[in-house]
Symmetry: C2
Amino acid sequence: MDKLKLGIIGLGRRGTVMIKECYAERNDLDIAWICDNDEDKLEEMQLFMKEKGHCPQTTLDYHDILNDSQVEAVFILSSWESHVPIAIDAMEAGKAVGMEVGGAYSLRDCYRLVEVQQKTNAFFMMLENVCYGRREMMVLNMVNQGVMGDIVHCAGGYRHDLREQVANGIALRHYRLRNYLNRNCDNYPTHALLPIMKVLGINRKNRMVSLVSVGSCSKGIAEYVNKTGIGKAEIEGKTIAQSDVVTTVIKCAGGETITLTLDTSLPRYYSRNFEVHGTKGLYVEENDCIFLDSEEMNENKDFPKKLYSNADDFQEKYDHPLWKKALEDGLTGGHGGMDGLITDAFVYCMKNGLESPIDVYDSVTAMAVTALSEESIATGLPVAIPDFTNGAWLIRKEQPNHIYSL
Amino acid sequence: MDKLKLGIIGLGRRGTVMIKECYAERNDLDIAWICDNDEDKLEEMQLFMKEKGHCPQTTLDYHDILNDSQVEAVFILSSWESHVPIAIDAMEAGKAVGMEVGGAYSLRDCYRLVEVQQKTNAFFMMLENVCYGRREMMVLNMVNQGVMGDIVHCAGGYRHDLREQVANGIALRHYRLRNYLNRNCDNYPTHALLPIMKVLGINRKNRMVSLVSVGSCSKGIAEYVNKTGIGKAEIEGKTIAQSDVVTTVIKCAGGETITLTLDTSLPRYYSRNFEVHGTKGLYVEENDCIFLDSEEMNENKDFPKKLYSNADDFQEKYDHPLWKKALEDGLTGGHGGMDGLITDAFVYCMKNGLESPIDVYDSVTAMAVTALSEESIATGLPVAIPDFTNGAWLIRKEQPNHIYSL
């Protein structure tokens, strides 16, 4: 297969990690362009790329990439605010789009993404690496095999102590600080939600109907700034709009419920607290346990401690075929293999003219939770979740059956 | 100290367990009466009591107990529906009341409990044993010492596979089945909520302001009946009103949020998924871990697995004094010691004229979540939580400092 001729837009934390740990190491990508607002980042990355044997052109203006007729695809790894405008311009210019994760600022942006993708028929995929996480795929595999029964409830979260990253936002040239100062919402729903949406068949015979979000007080960042002095000049005396913890409960057409938690400004270990609960079984990430409705488990009184980490025991039987293969072949890319796998999926599906595993409908449905949670917190009321498929969810079929299907 | 002259009302599952494992073994209780609707239960229990050296009178009518001027207190362990009417009659009759846990069917019942307690000045305590659980008290102790910082978010749940108990309700003469067939709410909020209320100082300078509840579909019981045949005659063809999972999010006056989960009709291990998250630390029951905001923890990448069960390491330093003493003295009563401790607390506080550790305000605030969650699920809207103290929460002081204080 020919290499995928690619432009990469955004050389911040995520862009840098992805290039260094994943993209620059691959032999199926021809990285033709790199783009960033900051010249120093461009220079630094170009040096690195040359050492790795790549010769990308550099630009401060992503339109230069879109105007290059040789470029087949762009990966958008820039600030949250720029994802949608760039994705729309790229699809209009006939490029395939891999868009990094983030939430939507407005429903209007979601509708625009859908309508431009429909008009251009561009290959569009949200680069939600967690969809290709080992546990997430194993649980999806178990659900698809019926091991968990009918799924009734799921939970997930982005629970990550980002205090340093937020408070130090100016120095890091990072977009979180301005968002935390001025907005209150689940600003990062997709890590938790997209894998759950796959478990529940959202946009394919199921859909998310409504949500309600509740935000806590905001104390973590202020206390951190006060204690460490980091970000003092920019933050002290200002009010942080963002709740330390935002809890969102989603109701689906099939009656399933989803509890989402954003929890990013208090001290804690990293967790996505993924939980899938069906009529025959349960997976809980927090203690990495699988509970099945069997006599042996139901009569054992030593649970839950005895179950800690028992999901490891199910790997041989239920690991997703993609992960079995990846572990045999040797994992590449960052984040424990997820970054490599989602890049594989993008290249494979796009080059073979297959449906996107995380298409524009899935992407905007997950992203919309940010704008909708903002509305719900502001009004104190539940809000309806739009049907971005305009009814097509009732008739859309499963994805074609291949190893990257979700 | 004189023995507490006591009547026990309700000899179902809970009443039987409490008498056999706790009350009959104690030397500070004079069990003068036992009462139940069913003669066979009365006869069976009287036989057991005689073997243990007790000679209670028996009655089918609890008013006989209330009319006995020698009786100081009643413990109410009957069906959910009867808790409030009996408690009100008992307080009106000048008895102290220990009332087992359950939810309120209406706000009116909550107000009546408060007003009768105020009028009679009776000693009233909800027998919420989980408030005296070892971890719950250790975490409360850590919170009170400031180790967790300002608390921002808590979670809790009653996550207990009750399928057999619900489906087999007629044979067991149990009250859950009629409730599950006809109501949809968080029908059992207090195990999770009362310990959290203590952590957050609810009704003493803080209060719960509003909640919203979302209910899942109901599939667990029907599938269980279909698979096992248990309860088939009573349930097959009927609709179970009760959601398998009810998620409730509560907002407090101090800005804290609480996520409550009722999860009782799917296969699972038992959990109350207690979680307390502050600006300096975190406790998570699901993996029994404590995370503190220290350099060592923040820089360790092996979390969360490395933290599983690490709360054990904090016991020597932070176990609640009551638990340290109880472990030295030897635990009595059921449920890992909690039942004995809450009975100790009742007897000690009542006999010494101390405030109830779980007084009528705390009790109705927690119980009201049942009626309010029913309303929220029915309407799809958030609801306000009444201030049952009528403003007194702003000026009420901490409980007097003794070993049973919560």
